[in-house]
Amino acid sequence: MLTLTSSRHTALHDWSAGGKLAGLAVFSVALFALPGLWSLAGLGLPLAATLALGLFPEWLRLFRPLVWMGLVILAWHGLTGTAPEGLTAVLRMFAAFGAANLVTMTTRLTDMQAVFLWLARPLAPVIPPARLALAMALVIRFVPVLALRADQLSQAWRARSPRRIGWPLVFAITLAALDDAEHVAEALQARGGTE
């Protein structure tokens, strides 16, 4: 499946995933702890990094869903006469979002997963790491399967109805997920189970 990791290899890709995530955590906490003007500098950091690494257009595109959210916040503060606070809030959100996306773009999914499994180690008695890794692999495997099923079902809907797709489609996909879970459980069992 498609990940958000950039296919363009940069120097940042070689840094350790754990290090990048720790850095991001410090950066985000600082962003909210420091006074407003710092958020501008905070946005400048990932901006400069993406420009230097040639990831800027890709990085900018990820902001698209956030633009309207920023505009709403600005307008909202404008109406209540607190425009400067609004600007700070939006800049801070964009800075945190931009830095996080930089880490996501330059870290491979498998490296992220390794950090995650390491962080989840204290949970080992409740959720053994092998089971967790298996569950993750199953999700990655079955997102495209269910997405395809959803697409086929909505085509079947459109082939027989001029109206917009309605809730029976959700029923059909949910049932497919439930049935697939049964089949996959059997397939797992047939090949040695989860132990």
Binding site: M1, L134, A137, L138, I140, R141, P144, V145, L148, D180, H183, V184, E186, A187, L188, Q189, A190, R191, G192, G193
Partner: protein
């Protein structure tokens, strides 16, 4: 106690009888299992694979109960009709090495063996491929490879050719014919089991006939033709 034994096995699901009074001792290298839709073929396979427990009676595979999962993994593998019900992993290499890891092979070694198997099949380029990008025939083939890596003594195949085009079917058939394993193949088409050593005909959950294909298939064909001629098929 070699082979697969079923002693007076019956199976009901939610109170509905699926299989009744099945008595079999299977040792032949190639066994065909035929019958109409809903006759219980898949349920019989699932019983042998220990995926469902019989309501009454006893199943043993190579002397062990199918509930002994460890022993069963070495003696039996099952190929589901729909590869999407079988493929568990996003990439080919994970899918192939999983079974070996379940048998206790260390991960690195399992992956190396999976890689060797792919190379031997001339498909080394599949290693990193995403399983959902493979075609139907390729996914079926991947499922078979995953089973063969586990080297079980028996392979149970549920309609292995149902969704394949003719050249793919011919290739898969050749591959299966050459296997040293004992095969039990489900089909609703008599032609698919013509060269088996033994054919079982299942009807409404009971063994209707059991013997060499030359003996079982003509009667099966005649009966299917007879039913097909009648228009009102209330159980379709």
């Amino acid at each position: 106690m070699s082979g697969i034994h079923l002693n007076d096995v019956s199976l009901s699901l939610q109170g509905k009888p699926i299989l009744t009074g099945i008595d079999l001792h299977l040792t032949e290298a190639r066994i065909g299992l035929i019958g109409r839709n809903g006759s219980g073929k898949t349920s019989l396979l699932r019983l042998m694979a220990g995926l469902v427990a019989p309501t009454s009676g006893r199943v043993t595979v190579e002397g062990a109960s199918p509930t002994d999962r460890k022993a069963l993994l070495r003696s039996l593998g099952i190929l589901f009709q729909n590869p999407d019900h079988q493929i568990l992993f996003p990439t080919v290499i994970e899918e192939l090495s999983f079974g070996l890891i379940q048998q206790g092979v260390p991960k690195a070694q399992a992956q190396a063996r999976a890689r060797d198997a792919l190379t031997a099949e001339g498909r080394a380029h599949w290693e990193k491929a995403a399983t959902h990008t493979l075609s139907q025939g390729q996914r079926q083939y991947l499922c078979l490879l995953a089973l063969l890596l586990m080297a079980p003594r028996w392979l149970l195949l549920d309609e292995p050719f149902a969704a394949l085009d003719l050249p793919t079917e011919a290739r898969l058939r050749r591959r299966l014919d050459a296997l040293p394993q004992r095969l039990i193949t489900i089909s609703h088409a008599p032609a698919a089991v013509e060269r088996c050593d033994r054919v079982l005909w299942l009807e409404q959950g009971r063994i209707r006939a059991d013997g060499p294909p030359a003996q079982v298939l003509p009667e099966f064909r005649a009966q299917m033709a007879r039913i097909g001629e009648a228009d009102a098929d209330t159980d379709l």
